[in-house]
């Protein structure tokens, strides 16, 4: 559900940043739950391809709806007062806001890892991914679990969308750009692997930064080339399980 990540930071233009960081992700989360409950669940029986195509349809609708309500111009979001300015780290000036994002993502990553690998809920989610029918037979409400997971995913996308809004501006095409990057990260890292996603996200970030520095013409191609090389060697990604 990448498009919802672009549409919510617009809340920002009305209120202050902290309020939108709190509210916008909740909104995307609820939206995700609704999409899962009323759309995706109905086509679950037709297989994964139908679900994929359905999300494409939802994406079209959100994308156009965003254009109707907010236009296709860029909207600007300012960094909150308390996070403005630079901080000196080892002789280099670094924006505080970017440090804040690094901190925020580390906290969320920690919570996610704890939730997935240390709690009963995490065990259920991981088991449900590998064999949903079996877990269902054990008396766990699988549709509810999937609904929760989808909502949590949309919530996280919303957090990321708000966090990135002051750095990039907000425009409908943001969804394409960010969605693409996250797809590549997930594919190369391997489906369902938190470690893989984290490591590959790092590599991709470095690749595109150094790419812009040294081969600016072909910087956008570097990530795709990286993906092609990895997939040629390991079709399921770095940490993906074989089918």
């Amino acid at each position: 559900m990448p498009p919802s990540l672009c549409c919510q930071p617009i809340f920002e233009s009305t209120g202050n940043f902290w309020l939108s960081l709190l509210l916008a992700p909740i909104f995307t989360g609820i939206f995700g739950v609704l999409v899962e409950r009323f759309l995706l669940r109905k086509v679950h029986a037709f297989g994964i391809l139908a679900e994929l195509i359905l999300t494409v349809g939802v994406m079209f609708v959100i994308y156009e709806a965003v254009k109707i309500f907010w236009g296709s111009d860029s909207l600007y979001v300012s960094v909150p007062k308390s996070l403005e300015g630079l901080v000196n780290i080892g002789g280099m000036d670094y924006p505080i806001y970017r440090l804040f994002i690094i901190g925020l993502t580390l906290v969320i990553l920690g919570i996610m890892a704890l939730l997935l690998y240390k709690t009963r809920l995490g065990t259920v989610v991981r088991a449900a991914v590998s064999d949903a029918d079996m877990v269902n037979a054990l008396g766990i409400n699988i549709p509810l679990v999937f609904m929760f997971v989808f909502g949590a995913g949309s919530w996280l996308a919303g957090v990321a969308g708000v966090a990135i809004a002051p750095i990039l501006s907000v425009f409908p095409g943001l969804a394409d750009q960010m969605g693409m990057d996250s797809f590549i990260v997930v594919i190369v890292g391997g489906f369902g692997s938190l470690t893989g996603a984290f490591i590959v996200a790092m590599i991709c970030g470095l690749l595109s930064s150094y790419g812009v520095q040294f081969v600016s013409q072909l910087a956008p191609v570097l990530m795709f080339a990286f993906m092609a090389v990895v997939l040629a060697v390991k079709p399921m990604g770095f940490f993906g399980e074989r089918e």
Partner: protein, 331 residues
């Protein structure tokens, strides 16, 4: 017997309408029809992957674009390149691209296959934008000479005229569609459906599953290339827009709405979308909003698409057994 005769009369009628179509409807609707036919071939080639082999690609536009760019480059750089050679270069261009990608994508399935295609489609889009000296960047390649349809010593027909181009494009696209239809009826076409339904079993029967997928993949890419090449020649322009995500999604929409798994489904879908586009652009700008809503409704309530609905109505009102779709008669 009587059924067969009705079928022949129907085909003859369609042929007659097609022959006199430009005279009946004028230039504007002739152009609309050519675009419809191009996208019908594009969608049918896509359905060969999704409907028959069970491979969902989010980046089929790269083959459409590869065909278009190959033809445009050939016509720009080769002096006096004949019409059919340009078309053939378009076909070979996208088959070559497919053969390059085969080793990477051939082993993937389901969501991974779709996402990798999304990424490769974007890669091609970015390349078309960045390699300005070859592809012309955002402006694309345009204004290349369109060669006349030429049989030496017999006839030479100017192809810039849209009506003449119609008489060239429609037979070529029709023959392409017929070849694809014939392809699905061959024993190999049956294996293809087997690969979709139970790849492991097909493997145990001694057929090579990965290689089968690769051959179908190249085949499908080639016909998407013909569609793209025809599109480039028709518009006298190929730009990076042909490679964007929207153009990858349009055959998915057409196939789903027309009816996945049925050969004629995507053609119906292409027709439906041509009509919807004609109608909606008169009232609102957001054509994609309407298409997205239609897609959601179709997937949720009519998984068989338009052909499924037709079969359902036929069965209900006439009680005939023709509700079966073309691909279901294998097992």
């Amino acid at each position: 017997m009587i059924n067969k005769r009705i079928k022949w009369i129907l085909w003859a009628g369609i042929l007659l309408v097609l022959v006199f179509y430009p005279r009946l409807f004028g230039t504007y609707f002739t152009n609309v029809f050519v675009i419809f036919a191009i996208f019908a071939l594009y969608a049918v080639s896509f359905n060969l992957l999704l409907g028959y082999t069970g491979l969902l690609s989010f980046g089929h536009a790269m083959y459409f674009g590869a065909g278009g760019y190959a033809t445009a480059l050939a016509l720009t750089h080769i002096e006096g390149c004949p019409l059919f050679v340009a078309l053939l270069i378009g076909l070979l261009g996208s088959v070559a691209l497919a053969l390059v990608l085969c080793p990477i994508v051939g082993r993937l399935q389901h969501a991974a296959f779709a996402m990798v295609h999304l990424a490769f489609g974007m890669l091609m889009h970015v390349l078309a934008l960045k390699l300005r000296n070859i592809t012309g960047g955002e402006d694309g390649l345009g204004g290349f000479p369109i060669p006349p349809f030429n049989i030496p010593g017999v006839v030479s027909v100017d192809m810039v005229d849209p009506t003449n181009f119609y008489y060239f494009a429609v037979p070529v696209l029709g023959v392409s569609l017929w070849i694809l239809w014939f392809f699905t009826k061959t024993p190999f076409g049956q294996i293809m459906v087997g690969v979709r339904d139970n790849a492991m079993r097909v493997g145990y029967m001694g057929f090579k599953v990965t290689q089968t997928r690769a051959v179908i993949y190249a085949f499908s890419a080639g016909f998407a290339g013909i569609a793209g090449s025809m599109y480039a020649m028709f518009q006298n322009l190929i730009s990076a827009n042909c490679l964007n995500i929207g153009n990858s999604f349009s055959p998915i929409l057409m196939t789903m709405v027309g009816g996945v798994g049925s050969f004629f489904g995507p053609i119906w879908g292409s027709a439906i979308f041509s009509i919807i586009e004609e109608l909606t652009t008169r009232y609102i700008e957001q054509v994609e909003l309407v298409m997205g809503l239609i897609l959601i409704i179709v997937i949720m309530f009519f998984p068989g698409g338009f052909t499924g609905l037709l079969g359902f109505i036929k069965e209900k009102w006439f009680g005939s057994q023709s509700g079966k779709t073309a691909t279901e008669d294998i097992s």
